[in-house]
Symmetry: C2
Subunit: 392 residues, 2 copies
């Protein structure tokens, strides 16, 4: 039917997309802090934004545009342009007005400190350094980083049986402040698939729910979260199942990368919840576990303290009972419907599972058929260090 | 009308109550780990328990008793007797059956590690050390501590205009795992006020909502939370307003002590939320702030990062808007309905406020009349140290 092939060209992988990053002097030491994505034809856009009521200016700016096509996304790090009122939106208009004439209907995206106006002049000067003929996706991915320790990119080509193919490319940033409802998380996905705007939005919504919205670093939701998907349809090819699978693979990979790169995180934990009353209750449990400070510190301590897991399940508000609950570290079930297998030997084996950098904690509630999988990380000293004085 | 006088006799302050603590060998180094409260006549009991579905055995045991009077509460630390199934309840019955014949309808309360059977023999031996004629409230308060760094006690006498008086005494424990819905938090209050069981339960419910349930250390809710209020009515005196005020003072003080003593906490912060759509939404905001990792780490870093406060308000799901929001550190308003006063001078002054060990953060949402006050603490390295390996 189709084959998915991984490539290494980030957002420049699909035909007709260009990108790069420059230094506008927002970050110290001439680090890259401003990126663009440019397409040589107009694109349809699908998007998912934060649910935070203090929506940042770039998102409010985007929403004023109504139905539109664009060929340009400007992104800066270091300043979120949030809590900046009307002036924040006017700043965006002023900056975008200085872009070259090839640019149509540009949009902007920002990440960084909240409550400070954009350094408009620096951004205008920075934009002058853009060379729209460049295909430097890795520079773009670096420029959007804040506390990220590595750039997050992926591109996939979907090869169809009839010889046609289309491609998706993506970059993302996000480390701290990531939570199930998406937080200081930016993700830009480009494609040349011949997909309608409506279908693209539908698939993006569905995929966001089980990828980015299933990922949690610290349970906080930012003012700026954005997932944007642009298509120029240049491949003239499309296959719905192939597109869905490729998009899911991309967003799942980036979501897991974000959690893995969570501020101070040393472990990526998958919470597999089954047997809940329904899928919603399974999601509530998965998120309660991935957000629990007591569970996160136990992970950091590599301490198989299953009692904290049981307690968190019980505290999450969903239907649960100790006589039907089952808790396993990977294949190792320490508690099974009232029977406690946690002796010294089991403890040692469970601790070994937790010494890995990636593992699964499975909870079967034994109530119904509901299930959900979420991704979380541990909470260690680095998180405190990074966040006790991020602004300065 | 009435006068409230503070005394220092803990749960032994009201007439006819006795208490002490012994070492049953649950804690190392012969530390006190088992306490009793005994009354020489039967008491009515009001209670509030955890909402956690994995309710610990002592609470399930209590609930099987239906309507009853008692004169004895046995409390142990170090083992929560939670996730122990039917056997956990049978263990309680066996232990309580060994108590002396003066004891009627005894109840039990436990705190500590989850998922381990009680060391029954040790507790039975420990109970033999109880001397029911002792009035040693401070020993009792020490015996119920787990990671607490200080014992939490208070007693108040309410003196009425007609020369009558009644007394309330209390002890509590709780440090980590405290959250708005009460967690690993035990509180025992004794009184000789001539109050009916129904009225006592009504006032206890109302007071819990604005004291213990407004206090958060880490957002986790335990399997064992208990507030128990016992009256022997011996004073033959009562004054509803006086009783309410005394109980509120006691529970507020103990709740604040618990937050102040939160694992690794260095600051006690009061969140005063006003102007929300309704009281419920104000409570949601107050709890979102007191639970936010980003806010808590900023407190620890003494960093007046008001953007994180704004973002957390926005993420809490309540009605809110940047054009009506106001954020103040004590009297210092850094952001007021769209106007950002946060310059270098303001930053320095706000940082000074945060250097105090206790201060208030006030948020006026500017939407309606809803208000709520919550207590929270910061999150520092000590929390991680304590919780990364508590069990071992």
């Amino acid at each position: 039917m189709y084959k998915i092939v991984q490539t290494n060209e980030g957002v420049c992988a699909p035909q007709g997309f260009f990108a790069s990053g420059v230094s506008a002097g927002l970050k110290p030491n001439n680090a890259l802090d401003m990126a663009f994505i440019y397409a040589d034809t107009l694109c349809d856009v699908a998007s998912v934004f934060t649910t935070n009521k203090m929506t940042a200016a770039p998102i409010r700016h985007f929403r004023t545009k109504g139905e539109f096509q664009t060929n340009f996304v400007l992104i800066n790090s270091k300043n979120a342009n949030a809590m900046t009122g009307k002036a924040g939106i006017e700043d965006i208009d002023e900056i975008l007005a200085t872009l070259p004439q090839e640019v149509h209907n540009p949009v902007m995206s920002s990440t960084g400190v909240i409550g400070v106006r954009l350094p408009k002049e620096k951004l205008i000067e920075g934009a002058k350094l853009f060379d729209l003929s460049k295909k430097e996706p890795h520079k773009a991915a670096q420029a959007i980083m804040t506390t990220d320790s590595f750039a997050k990119e992926i591109s996939l080509r979907v090869e169809l049986a009839d010889g046609g193919s289309f491609t998706l490319g993506a970059m993302a940033k996000g480390a701290g402040m990531i939570n199930p409802a998406m937080a200081t998380m930016l993700c830009f996905i480009t494609t040349d698939a011949d997909i309608s705007k409506e279908k693209m939005q539908e698939i993006l919504d569905e995929t966001t729910k089980v990828t980015f919205n299933a990922a949690s670093v610290d349970g906080d939701t930012s003012t700026n979260d954005t997932v944007m998907l642009l298509t120029n349809k240049k491949s003239a090819a499309f296959h719905e199942e192939g597109f869905r699978e490729a998009l899911h693979t991309i967003m799942r990979k980036l979501a897991r990368d974000m959690v893995r790169d969570g501020e101070g995180a040393t472990k990526l934990v998958t919470y597999e919840i089954t047997g809940a009353k329904n899928d919603h209750e399974a999601e509530v449990v998965a998120k309660a576990l991935s957000d629990s400070l007591l569970v996160k510190t136990a992970l950091y301590g590599e301490d198989p303290n299953w009692g904290r897991i049981a307690s968190t399940v019980g505290a999450s508000g969903v239907e649960a009972d100790e006589s039907t609950l089952k808790i396993c570290f990977e294949e190792l079930c320490v508690y099974d419907r009232g029977v406690n297998y946690f002796d010294a030997d089991m403890e040692e084996r469970a601790a070994k599972v937790m010494q890995q950098s990636e593992f699964t904690i499975a909870c079967d509630l034994g109530i119904g058929e509901g299930k959900f999988t979420a991704f979380g990380c541990d909470l260690g000293h680095e998180y405190i260090k990074i966040n006790a004085d991020y602004r300065t």
